[in-house]
């Protein structure tokens, strides 16, 4: 993973609440055996009409969405299936961060492991972001703060180790593998009981 220090971008707003991972990427696209190319199927059922043409009303098909790296979702995103295809699709499309009031556990974990920053904010900040699509925001991983174009800056929670991995571009497996001796000791102690 590349080190990620900050995300500075305009936002795309999808105001629906409870966007589940079946919406982010529908199950029929999960027959893939790789991670690549899933961006095309991101939000497929909202983004394309029944005959496969882009739905002009959907935000990702509008010119202002081009190049945006921050997705502002309605309240609570990522519930449902544990499919890691959801963050893979968001990243492949070009998003680097997702902002909401609540982010479901498994989706949050999956996002962090792939370099997609989950940003949980309070209700007033969220309402402001929903009301101002296209706002230029900055997400700083060092200070774990989100700054709005108004100058308002709010802290967001980011688990210390996940932050360390994002900033240094290291993956968690390296850390886990450095603990193999402890894991062996645990296995031996347990087998002896």
């Amino acid at each position: 993973m590349e080190p990620l220090l900050r995300v500075r971008s305009t936002t795309v707003v999808i105001a629906s609440s409870n966007i589940d991972t079946d919406q982010i990427i529908p199950a029929r696209f999960l027959t893939t055996t790789t991670k690549v190319g899933l961006g095309k199927q991101l939000f497929a059922d909202w983004r394309y009409t029944a005959n496969g043409t882009p739905n002009p009303d959907f935000i990702l098909n509008k010119p202002e969405a081009i190049g945006c790296e921050v997705l502002v979702a309605g309240r609570n995103i990522g519930c449902g299936s544990s499919r890691e295809h959801a963050p893979w699709a968001l990243l492949d499309y070009g998003f680097k961060a997702v902002i909401s009031t609540e982010i479901a556990d498994i989706f949050k974990n999956n996002s962090l492991k792939n370099g997609l920053v989950p940003v949980v904010v309070d209700a007033p900040t969220h309402e402001w972001l929903i009301a101002h699509p296209g706002a230029k925001v900055e997400i700083d991983l060092h200070t774990t703060r989100l700054t709005l174009p108004t100058g308002v800056s709010v802290a967001f929670p980011l688990e210390a180790f996940a932050r360390h991995c994002l900033i240094n571009g290291v993956d968690e497996l390296g850390f886990l593998r450095s603990k193999i001796a402890d894991i062996e000791r645990y296995e031996i102690a347990r087998a002896a009981v």
Binding site: P26, T32, G80, I183
Partner: protein, 494 residues
């Protein structure tokens, strides 16, 4: 210090405790895998030239993208069949066939036991773990699948993970985890006739909401829970994830031990006594503190049905769709469903009824459906699809005569698999159609593009299939019409 069941399991699996800078290293006893979420993890492992650390703690099955259509006997296989076909049916979708083939190849390369296409023990991953006795109290169990919470019914800490974490478990048999908080769900009272474990969990989700459990492990407690069978407990724990919870837990007791006794992978002989003695310690201490709690009176519950596009949008079957003010989310969901606020749910027409999935695809669920369907016919124009949760459930249902009841009623009886729960194998609901379903998710498009899902119990699905409209199953049950216990014959209908 008094501790909860969760605390005890966590403490026993902590290789290294969490610190301010690093999460805990948690040891995983059982790793279940399937064809959809494992290929990328295997590819990663290969790129790092690593072996699977504990293949003996890993079990693989195929369930999500496999066909469920039985083929007529003696039909010769087409020469181009992509693989030795299962139940005589080749996999139609090429990409799905590739996933299945990759799992076969990966399992072989890494020395993992696979319940493959032809295996009599194959089935939905969360149905076969318990059935084999591989799921045991006090274990940590993970799978690249959110409904891993099902196994919590045995007092195991069981949760879903992503494909990267599947790779972590392959390589180290461990996961990095922050300790979740605990949530006591206290349920007391006798479930009324016709009200099932499915109705109980749907009402809990209705109360706490689809994110009410986020960050928590739910422990279901109280005399209602103790009186549930293992299959009912699995239904409850299965849908913990639908409340956003990391996992659901139920303390093991005699019901659990009776269920596990004699199962092929359960401890045997003298090991059994020792195991049970240990399992008996796996309860929350009397004074244990939970971070939060809720109390539910089971005697007040009714059959439940969802009306919207998440499992929290749920009402008692006799109620009408609520009318919240200025709720655009609610409006959007109703627009998708083609419903109006204020509509009664009873009497809404349905096109499809699906009985199956890891929520309600076990033998007792099929017995419940059969008790309603026996001697009756489904309504003209309704497609009733009944998909057993595993090949073993299929054989047992056939031996008990349930399959004959289903077929005489006009139902479509299939091979096991996830099937219409998520429609990956081609079993889908057409756009705009209404499916009354015993599965766990009514998300937009979950059962097919544009499909509209109503989540219910097997009783309600069967009763509605007969009338062709949403029906209160209590109208069709005998006075003793409660969920039949394991091995009991189906109830006599009126």
């Amino acid at each position: 210090m008094p501790s909860t069941l969760f605390d005890k399991i966590w403490a026993a699996h902590q290789v290294l405790p969490e610190t301010a800078d690093t999460p805990a290293v948690l040891y995983i006893d059982l790793h279940l895998i399937h064809e959809v979420t494992s290929p990328q993890a295997f590819a990663w492992l290969k790129s790092l030239k690593l072996p699977v650390r504990c293949p003996e703690r890993t079990l693989a099955t195929m369930d999500h993208s496999t066909p469920t259509t039985p083929m007529a006997r003696n039909t010769p296989m087409p020469p181009t069949t992509p693989m030795a076909a299962f139940g005589g049916v080749p996999i139609k979708i090429d990409a799905a066939a590739l996933q299945v083939r990759q799992l076969e190849a990966n399992a072989k390369e890494f020395g993992i036991e696979l319940f493959g296409m032809q295996d009599a023990r194959r089935g939905i991953v969360h149905v076969i773990g318990p059935e084999l006795g591989s799921t045991q109290p006090g274990m940590t169990i993970v799978c690249g699948d959110s409904h891993t919470s099902t196994h919590g019914a045995f007092g195991a800490l069981a949760f879903g993970i992503g494909s990267t974490e599947v790779g972590h478990v392959f390589a180290t048999q461990c996961l990095l985890q922050r300790k979740p908080k605990t949530f006591a769900v206290n349920v007391n009272g006798i479930l009324p006739r016709g009200v099932t474990a499915k109705d109980l969990i749907l009402s809990i989700i209705g109360k706490i909401g689809v994110s009410g459990g986020t960050g928590y492990v739910l422990e279901y407690r109280g005399n209602t829970i103790s009186s549930l069978s293992m299959e009912e407990r699995m239904t409850v724990c299965n849908m913990s994830i639908e409340a956003g919870a990391r996992a659901g837990l139920i303390a093991p007791d005699d019901t659990t031990f009776r269920y596990l006794a004699g199962k092929p992978r359960a401890p045997q002989g003298s090991g059994w006594e020792a195991a049970v003695a240990h399992w008996r310690t796996l309860v929350s201490d009397t004074d244990a503190c939970f971070d939060t709690s809720i109390d539910i009176d089971a005697s007040k519950l009714e059959p439940m049905i969802t009306y919207g596009t998440n499992p929290g949008m749920v009402v008692a079957i006799g109620d009408s769709i609520p009318k919240p003010d200025n709720d655009t989310v609610h409006d959007k969901a109703l627009k998708y469903m083609g419903f109006n606020a204020g509509d009664a749910m009873l009497g809404k027409p349905i096109n499809v009824a699906f009985i199956g999935s890891c929520t309600n695809g076990r033998l007792e669920d099929l017995q419940a459906a059969a008790s309603v369907l026996k001697g009756r016919k489904i309504a003209a124009g309704v497609h009733l699809l009944i998909v057993p949760g595993s090949q073993q459930v299929k054989r047992e249902a056939e031996a008990l005569g349930l399959a004959d009841i289903f077929k005489s009623a006009g139902a479509d009886w299939r091979e096991s698999g996830c099937s219409m729960c998520l429609g990956m194998n081609g079993d889908t609901v057409a756009s705009g159609q209404y499916a009354i379903s015993t599965s766990n998710r009514n998300f937009e498009g979950r059962q097919g593009v544009g499909a509209r899902t109503l989540l219910v119990s097997p009783f309600t699905a069967a009763a509605s299939a007969i009338r062709g409209v949403v029906t209160d199953p209590r109208e069709m049950l005998t006075p003793r019409g409660t969920l039949p216990g394991p091995g009991t014959p189906p109830l006599e209908p009126f």
